[in-house]
Symmetry: C2
Subunit: 406 residues, 2 copies
């Protein structure tokens, strides 16, 4: 059976049955949730209200389910070109020193990032990927039933954190496959939201606004609303897509990462840039010794290797051009991309796109697709190495035929 | 000026003045907390109530403050003997693959841990060190004003999380420099606490209870109370210090780590063992892609190298014996240790112990001391390499003399 990562029933099956190993040790029938709950822990009402399903399924899970690995890993918007050799070397050197906790201040990395962005170290918070920092941000700002505004189908991990802290998510639709500052601001005013999420460039559609448009949104931000500006993919975007960093604004916080352009997703290094009074709040809740020491060293080395970053951006540009070619050769419409992936319009509804994802997966090519309509007419393919894209080129026509005859 | 890490005024100074770099960019006078708060983010009442001070200061911070590095790093209970060479090799290999996110299930590591402990993978949660997992545990169990019971002077990071989620900490004193199951249980009954923390062995005193005593505590656990049993140092303890792992109990959760015996503090890999219904709750709140991929690989390799672990335990045993000798040669009384560090009774009050810590720090030897009376009559020295202990042997008599004449 081919595993369809986008198929809700697959996720539910996993969550409900505990896919791997459950019962393997002959656990007693009496050890069930309903019975033990009688004498079980007193979870908070909020924790009890949260869904028990596993919200995130990695490619490894699908590989285990289908009994073999993917030959092309193009579904998680990872950077297959990898980190700078200098970053790899720094992490190798740090491996022998891993008996030491990482510096809880990430001092050296913070200094380097501050210099790069022309801000003070006090304007930067470093954390376990943007995901970890988004969790801290939501925790600082959102009490149960507080309103949060985002775009339906935008970054799901942000939503996961909002739900996890009891927030009340309000969504607006995409507009021309782009997150809409105007709709987000209007909704934030309507519900009086203390927090608004916008990614620029966007994931999963790879669309982008100019820095002027984002600056306009900042200028028009309602009093009492924080703009969480996720710029995970900003290095891939055209010049001018990011407004100037202005750390005097008390309610704009921008997120950057080493997971994408710097090719270090597995290291977990993200950072936030904001007013120092805002950044200081993170020290109240963050896991102070949470950073991996080798990751700190690797990120610092990666940051300094600008030539390698430039090469990566060129590699990604070429890969995206080829993905677009492959799409067109198969009668599909690639969307313009300001990221390291391409959204491809498959020309039919979500069911067809799901089938294409599944059929590509069965042929060893791991991709994903957007979650919400009408964006879920598309598939999402990360920039791959030439050999990855050879596989895509071979598999896509077969997958399309198979999807059409399902 | 010698930096005294245990000196509260040093911490407050750092928190209040933003020790490094503030004002370096000529920030405008108007950019102050009081003004920007008027139009600042709407932080939750809980977040606003939390202390703004930085609760954790790493040795690197002290090194920067005193303008030179420590020659012996014996203050954080790190394992100076480092990880298995096989773990280092696994992390080096993984460094080149760091462009991939880690497996969000930590499947391979979880399987190996399950096999080691004779439980199912569903009985194990893996996270960003015990610290990260303690945060998730508190989040699941503690709503504002819920009571939590621990020992005054025991692990501060646990308290940090409890305060961070608005919990109401109730403490009992040490009994004979040991955490007291009887006092903890009595207090938990008195205040009807949903969560009790006990570390066995204890940090900072290095004392330990037999497994039978801990089992007695489990058997006597009040209905509705969870026992958080922190066994970070259990590998160093005498045989029989850990009761048999019983994952049928719905309210006992045990924490283990790769930071201590396995020498990988900087990797951030900890895990919890509990009833599967308890473990499943962590999926509701954890950072699913929070694990460093190289750390996952390193931990797996470390776990398999039992010969190296055995060697480490022997190295630590010898180091502790030598620390005890050095203490006695200086007229101090080392306490028995079931961990990788030795608490040394300096024979006077906290002020004297603080002075010894400061004077050792000024001589390049980083150590710490317990936080609460009367345990703060002691200093705490981690097992060091022979060259580290040579330095300690030289510095300690000088530091004691200097502390006496302060």
């Amino acid at each position: 059976m081919a595993v369809n990562l986008e198929d809700a029933s697959f996720w539910e099956t996993r969550a409900g049955r505990c896919f791997f190993g459950r019962g393997a040790l002959g656990r007693r029938e009496s050890e069930t949730c309903s019975e033990s709950a009688m004498t079980g822990p007193r979870f908070t009402p909020l924790a009890q209200s949260l869904p028990a399903s596993v919200p995130f399924v990695g490619p490894e899970t699908a590989e285990r389910a289908q009994g073999r690995g993917f030959a092309a890993r193009l579904g998680a918007n990872e950077n297959v070109f990898g980190p700078s050799p200098k970053a790899i070397e720094a992490m190798e050197v740090a491996a022998a020193d891993i008996w030491k906790y990482g510096d809880p201040e990430s001092y050296d990395l913070k200094e380097a990032l501050a210099a790069k962005h022309g801000v003070a170290p006090e304007n930067i918070a470093i954390g376990e990927g943007i995901d970890g920092l988004l969790g801290y941000l939501v925790r600082l700002l959102i009490a149960p039933d507080d309103k949060v505004v985002t775009t339906a189908g935008a970054y799901p991990t942000f939503n996961y954190h909002v739900v996890g802290y009891g927030g009340d998510l309000h969504t607006v639709p995409y507009e021309n496959d782009t997150e809409s500052p105007a709709l987000l601001l209007a909704k934030a005013r309507e519900v009086d939201a203390p927090l608004i999420y916008l990614a620029n460039p966007d994931n999963p559609m790879a669309s982008v606004h100019s820095g002027a448009v984002i600056q306009g949104m900042i200028d028009d931000l309602p009093t009492g609303a924080v703009l969480c500006l996720d710029e995970a993919y900003i290095e891939f975007a055209p010049e001018g897509s990011a407004p100037a960093i202005d750390i005097s604004h008390p309610r704009v916080i921008r997120f950057r990462t080493f997971s994408k352009a710097y090719g270090m997703a597995g290291a977990r290094v993200g950072y936030a840039i904001a007013h120092q009074d805002f950044i200081k709040q993170f020290d109240k809740v963050r896991n102070h010794f949470g950073m991996n020491r080798a990751a700190q060293a690797g990120a610092l080395a990666a940051l300094k290797d600008e030539a390698y970053l430039k090469q990566t951006l060129e590699n990604v540009r070429r890969a995206k051009a080829r993905i677009a070619e492959i799409a067109r050769a198969n009668g599909l419409a690639p969307l313009r991309s300001a990221t390291n992936f391409v959204a491809i319009d498959c020309g039919h509804g979500a069911e067809f796109a799901k089938a294409v994802v599944a059929e590509l997966g069965a042929r060893g090519v791991f991709i994903r697709m957007p979650f919400s309509a009408p964006q879920n007419r598309c598939i999402r393919v990360s920039a791959g190495r030439p050999d990855n894209l050879d596989l895509l080129e071979t598999a896509l026509p077969e997958a399309l035929r198979a999807a059409q005859t399902r």
